[in-house]
């Protein structure tokens, strides 16, 4: 399987009055053709900054401190603005979180959907509109033909998000980046949108980076998962590995704090709050909230330990010298499920790649 996108050792700072915010600290991952990579993590962990750097849409006070973003072998970070314009919206598209604000309120939606075609495909207006109509039909806007002339505020939230998706896929991009595309939506609508994205992925064979903080959504859509915490990826693996063989205490905490439909008794919350990225702790940023923290966590950042060929986790607990710890009970139940699932999962991934 070819890697379409490779992010290597990416570090990004933001200059602010209080000092530099180290928003991304040495992040690496890759995206294969046709797969869906989910990035999870709580607010401020650097998910958006990561994908914006791929799009070349970082805020003006951002500074790339190091690393590369290779797309088909070219470093996107070094591309001049002009060439980036050629790639954006054409080969790599993006869907934003809030469907209510990401459409231009003063432009009919047909035109907005057709816009990337006019920019990139040198199509005439009529053809572009025709194609836009096809795509709007595809994403399930009822009466698309008549509604092309309508304005965003005349659509419901779910419909708007479909339009945003239509804009993103109208050029059949190779990479589709979706930054929390369903967070602002109702569960029912969210389910529809996710189904839609899965279906589209099958049709246009695009690779997707899907950002969310909802593990439920991840379970539904992802092939692989990267868990971020405080500007770093702390665990990275196939979806089943992350859900049924989690290794990092933060991943445990995340899985644990969500009630499932049969959770009873007290929820296992992760205590405390995430660290301040202005001055990230020296060692493991999660250590202060980690009940399994080791002495070394306060001194040195843990490296990635390989769990399997596809599964890595950055926690000292995986160090051979580390004491064996008991994951929380709920996690153990999950782990028990792994064996039943694993073969099936591997097969599936193969089939896709």
């Amino acid at each position: 399987m070819a890697n379409i996108l490779e992010v290597k050792n990416l570090s990004i700072d933001f200059k602010t009055y209080a000092g530099d915010v180290h928003a991304i600290r040495d992040v690496s991952f890759e995206l294969k053709k046709g797969e869906t990579l989910a990035i999870v993590g709580e607010s401020g962990s650097g998910k958006s900054v990561t994908v914006r750097s791929i799009m070349g849409l970082l805020a003006s006070n951002a500074q790339v401190k190091g690393g590369t973003v290779k797309y088909h072998g070219d470093d996107l970070l070094k591309k001049p603005e002009k060439e980036m314009n050629q790639i954006r919206g054409n080969e790599i598209s993006m869907i934003f979180q809030d469907p209510m604000t990401s459409l231009d309120p003063t432009m009919p939606i047909g035109k907005q959907v057709a816009e990337p075609l006019l920019i990139h495909k040198a199509m005439n207006k009529e053809d572009a509109m025709k194609r836009a109509l096809t795509v709007l039909d595809l994403v399930g806007i009822p009466n698309a033909k008549e509604r092309m002339k309508d304005y965003p505020h005349q659509f419901s939230g779910g419909q708007r998000q479909r339009i945003v998706i239509a804009i993103a896929i109208v050029d059949y991009p190779q990479v589709l980046i979706a930054d929390e595309p369903t967070t602002a939506l109702d569960v029912t609508v969210q389910a529809q949108i996710i189904d839609l994205m899965k279906e589209l992925q099958r049709k246009i064979e695009t690779s997707i980076i899907f950002i969310t903080h909802d593990l439920g959504v991840v379970a539904g859509i992802a092939d692989r998962v990267a868990v971020m915490y405080a500007g770093k990826i702390i665990e990275y693996g196939l979806v089943d590995e992350i859900f049924y063989q989690p290794k990092h205490p933060y991943t445990w905490g995340l899985l644990n704090s969500m009630p499932t439909l049969d959770t009873a008794g007290k929820l296992e919350a992760i205590p405390g709050t995430p660290p301040d990225l202005l001055d990230p702790p020296k060692g493991d940023a999660f250590a202060p909230r980690n009940p399994y923290a080791l002495q070394i966590d306060t001194e040195e950042m843990p490296p990635f330990f390989e769990v399997s060929k596809t599964h890595y986790a950055a926690t000292w607990l995986l160090h051979p010298d580390a004491p064996q710890v008991e994951p929380p009970a709920a996690i153990k139940t999950l782990m028990a499920k792994y064996d039943e699932v694993a073969p099936q999962k591997v097969g599936q991934t193969d089939g896709k790649g």
Partner: protein, 310 residues
């Protein structure tokens, strides 16, 4: 839409009626009479004149007559210009003011929008600094000072334009410039603020993500959206400009309505004052109505919500 227009026009008429009434009674409060002069009028003359102007009637009846007259498009006759109908007076003075005002408006707001947009796009660069500096300077110089400087340097010294007097387009250039600076500066500042906001909005991000270059993004998406609030200040500004600027009219000896207005105030020419006030209000409200319709054209959200409401 028609329903909406009818509703708005009803409001307009109601407001005009109130304005007319308020001004009428305010005029009655003013001390002195229009024919106070050093000359002596006989008691009989006074009585006859009062009768002719209807000033001998009880105030309420005078009021009634005035309002009925208004309904027939009769604004009364001027005291200052004996027997000159007020409406004719206003009309004959309006053209130059309207011309200069409209020119200043178009020039000022057009350039202002441009300047503001450029400043916003180049936020925090020297371009922004220069644009901000000039727009603040523009607001800071009284227009009469500006008018004097323009006249002295451009017209008198360099002989590039007529010094004064109202004679064709060329004589409208300097007054237009003098008047345009303030709206230019104001729109530029407003536009900049708004544009900065718009440029940081999600749909601009999406536009960039579509592969629009910076200028394409601005032209296709940012400009129109930033114009929405700018339109609101353009309304009152237009009224102020079109109803004439006494000062500029004075300096350039333009027979405009601003000058006429002050003159009628100074001479207690009540019918003219009232006529002008009502006319001014009328203009104001028409411009606001136009602006609101414009608003709807620029911003479809408003257009539709009104359609919906009717």
């Amino acid at each position: 839409m028609t329903k909406y227009l009818i509703k708005r026009i009803c409001y307009l008429v109601l407001t005009l009626f109130i304005v007319a009434s308020v001004t009428f009674f305010m005029m009655k409060l003013m001390p002195g009479t229009p024919y106070t002069n050093q000359e002596k009028l006989s008691a009989d003359q006074l009585r006859i004149m009062n009768e002719q102007y209807g000033l001998n009637k009880p105030i309420l009846e005078q009021y009634w007559i005035y309002i009925v007259g208004l309904l027939h498009g009769d604004f009364g006759t001027s005291f200052q210009f004996n027997n000159q109908p007020v409406l004719g007076l206003i009309m004959s003075r309006l053209a130059p003011s309207l011309q200069i005002g409209a020119q200043a408006m178009i020039l000022g707001s057009g350039l202002g929008i441009l300047l503001g947009a450029v400043a916003a796009i180049r936020k925090n660069t020297w371009v922004d600094g220069v644009a901000t500096f000039f727009s603040i300077l523009g607001i800071s110089i009284p227009n009469f000072v500006l008018a004097v400087l323009l006249q002295f340097f451009l017209a008198f010294k360099l002989q590039m334009f007529p010094i004064a007097l109202w004679d064709g387009f060329s004589s409208s250039i300097l007054p237009t410039l003098a008047l345009a600076v303030a709206p230019l500066a104001n729109t530029a500042r407003f536009m900049r603020t708004e544009m900065v906001d718009v440029l940081s909005s999600d749909y601009i991000e999406l536009a960039k993500a579509k592969g629009n270059s910076r200028w394409q993004t601005v032209a296709k998406h940012a400009l129109r959206n930033s114009m929405i609030p700018v339109v609101t200040i353009i309304g009152p500004m237009a009224v102020n400009l079109m109803t004439g600027s006494l000062v500029v009219e004075n300096i350039f000896s333009i027979p405009g309505i601003g000058e006429q207005f002050v003159k009628s105030i100074m001479t207690n020419d009540y019918p003219t004052i009232m006529g002008l006030t009502i006319f001014y209000s009328f203009l104001l409200m028409v411009i606001i109505l136009v602006v609101d319709i414009l608003y709807g054209i620029i911003d479809p959200r408003i257009r539709l919500s009104e359609k919906g409401a009717n």
